[in-house]
């Protein structure tokens, strides 16, 4: 049974366009040109209970618009959305009680209050029963390791601490569904790992459905079995990470560290040189035309090799190729 069903979603924003310069500003006072931007142009998908779905795409692709519609904040121009058997925007107050939302660049905590008081206020806002609140609060404090910052005011927290507190705040009322909009944006490596691990655990242990938008492809690789790619308001692909890879390219990458400065000559027709970086050489090959062991044997036969390894192209390269850009712009590793 699908928990989220989205059909043919359309959202158009009207943006005032102004001709540049002083004359343009004056003209803008009297007459405005409105241009319509189709942020969503017929988006549809469905998500089952317990799935952890990555929702990715470049800036302006429509990711956040989708999340905002799904969380009841924005009203679409047309299309149907059913989440937890509700239409989010029509039944906002009852609906949002059952979902948790984290917007990575914002905070829902009260800037001037200690963290714990923000939590207590949320208890009032969600009208959580006292013992249920104590249980869920202690649980998130424990798993997110927040004991040390509970009495700090929010303005004094580091970004990583704040994000963990925001995650906790979104879970106090034990939502059935969690929307995360760029939850790792701006975080340092350690905080990113902590947040990622926590999201993974929530999904695995509690069976919480999670929808995650992100720019960070490492988030996706670490967490998501299923990836929905959106571009210019349309769904470009929807499936497992492996299927996404296979659908775009079968290519794999071989990275070779040469032992000396001799240039690697790629006369091999089965191999494409992506780029060379000092003694490190990046090669792309199609495993159906030449197997990895065969290729490695050929390279080792002709060159003094210090080290080499085979990998899948990073998801950025896959996405870039999907948008018709050249994958060689991105480098492996």
């Amino acid at each position: 049974m699908s928990q989220i069903v989205v059909e043919d979603l359309v959202k158009v924003f009207h943006v005032a366009r102004r001709t540049p310069g002083l004359w343009g500003s004056v003209k803008g006072l009297v007459k405005r040109d409105w241009s319509a931007i189709r942020a969503l142009d017929g988006v549809g998908f469905s998500i089952d209970r317990g799935e952890l779905v990555g929702y990715i795409g470049p800036n302006g692709a429509g990711k956040s618009t989708t999340v905002k519609i799904l969380s009841g904040i924005l009203v679409p121009d047309s299309g149907r959305v059913t989440v937890l058997n509700c239409t989010p925007w029509a039944d906002r107050i009852r609906y949002v009680r059952r979902i948790g939302v984290v917007f990575g660049q914002r905070t829902q905590l009260w800037w001037d209050l200690p963290v714990i008081e923000s939590f207590d206020l949320l208890r009032e806002i969600y009208a959580i029963a006292p013992d249920r609140y104590r249980r869920s609060r202690d649980e998130v404090i424990d798993t997110l390791d927040l004991g040390g910052v509970l009495h700090t005011t929010v303005r004094q927290l580091s970004l990583g601490q704040r994000m963990r507190c925001d995650l906790a705040a979104a879970l106090l009322h034990e939502p059935e569904l969690l929307f995360l909009d760029e939850p790792t944006i701006g975080l340092d490596a350690v905080s990113k790992l902590a947040v990622r691990e926590f999201i993974g655990r929530l999904n695995k242990e509690r069976g919480l459905t999670v929808i995650l938008t992100t720019h960070d492809m490492d988030d996706i690789e670490a967490l998501c079995r299923r990836v929905i790619v959106i571009g210019e308001g349309r769904i470009l692909s929807d499936g497992t990470l492996a299927a996404l890879r296979a659908g775009v390219t079968r290519e794999r990458w071989l990275t070779v560290d040469l032992a000396d400065d001799a240039a690697l000559t790629v006369a091999d027709p089965d191999v494409r040189l992506i780029r060379q970086d000092g003694r490190r050489v990046y090669l792309a090959f199609d495993p159906q035309r030449v197997s990895a062991p065969e290729l490695i044997a050929r390279v080792v036969r002709n060159h003094a090799v210090h080290d080499l390894f085979v990998e899948n192209p990073p998801i950025e390269a896959i996405i870039a190729r999907m948008y018709g850009r050249d994958a060689s712009e991105t480098t492996p590793g």
Binding site: F13, N59, S64, K68, S71, G72, I73, L74, V75, R92, I93, R94, V96, R97, I99, V101, F103, Q105, R106, T107, Q108, W110, D112, L113, E117, L121, E124, I125, Y126, A127, D181, E182
Partner: protein, 263 residues
Amino acid sequence: MTPYRAVLSSRFRMLLQYRAAALAGIVTQLFFGIVRTMIFDAFYRSSRVQQPIGRDDVVTYIWLGQAFLMLTILDADRDVAEMIRGGNVAYELVKPVDLYWLWFARAVSGRAAPLALRAVPILALAAFWHGLRGPASVTGAILFAVALAGGLLVAASLVAVMTISMVWTISGEGISRLMAPLVFFFSGIVVPLPLFPDWMQRGLAALPFRGLIDTPFRIYIGQLHDASALAALANQAVWIVVLVAAGRIMLARSLRRLVVHGR
């Protein structure tokens, strides 16, 4: 109503922390109180015409005005302005609360907290030392308290309308600047409303601004009593209902066309 009460009380407690601002406010308002009572003193001494309100009553009216000045400072909520500009309003919308009452609660605490800090010292000093008299009667004192609460609700419902208008205009500056002179003239904070010319009285009585301070103050000095006091309270109540309804309709409309800024 618990979530709204919780937000109200937490903001109230937070605003109570601004003690330096309160102290500065008390000093300023005492100073202006002294200057203004001196001006009206001079006016009463040089005037040979019978005024519609006695000199001692005006002094009391002015001191009450200094003590409850916050009821006439109506600014669109800066924090909400920031939320709308920055997009944090998204978080307000994912909470299972009625946004109108949430913002209304903020408006109430935004006036009530500074008022609570400032009113008592100003009233005490003015009573001991500068001609503030007690309420006209016991009933008057009780009705004054009711009217003061009514004034707070009129103020909050006006602020809520101003705040909601920012969903359209983004910046709260314009509406706050438009509102300030209206409130200054028509609330009685600059010139007590009884001193306005007769031909304006009916118009003044119909506006919502008299409900802010003029209604409680006139009840206090006993110029409004019995039926006239009840009529004035009814006028407050009607305006509260009208302004709340207007605010709710505006908010419902604006949410439908809301664009949450930022990503």
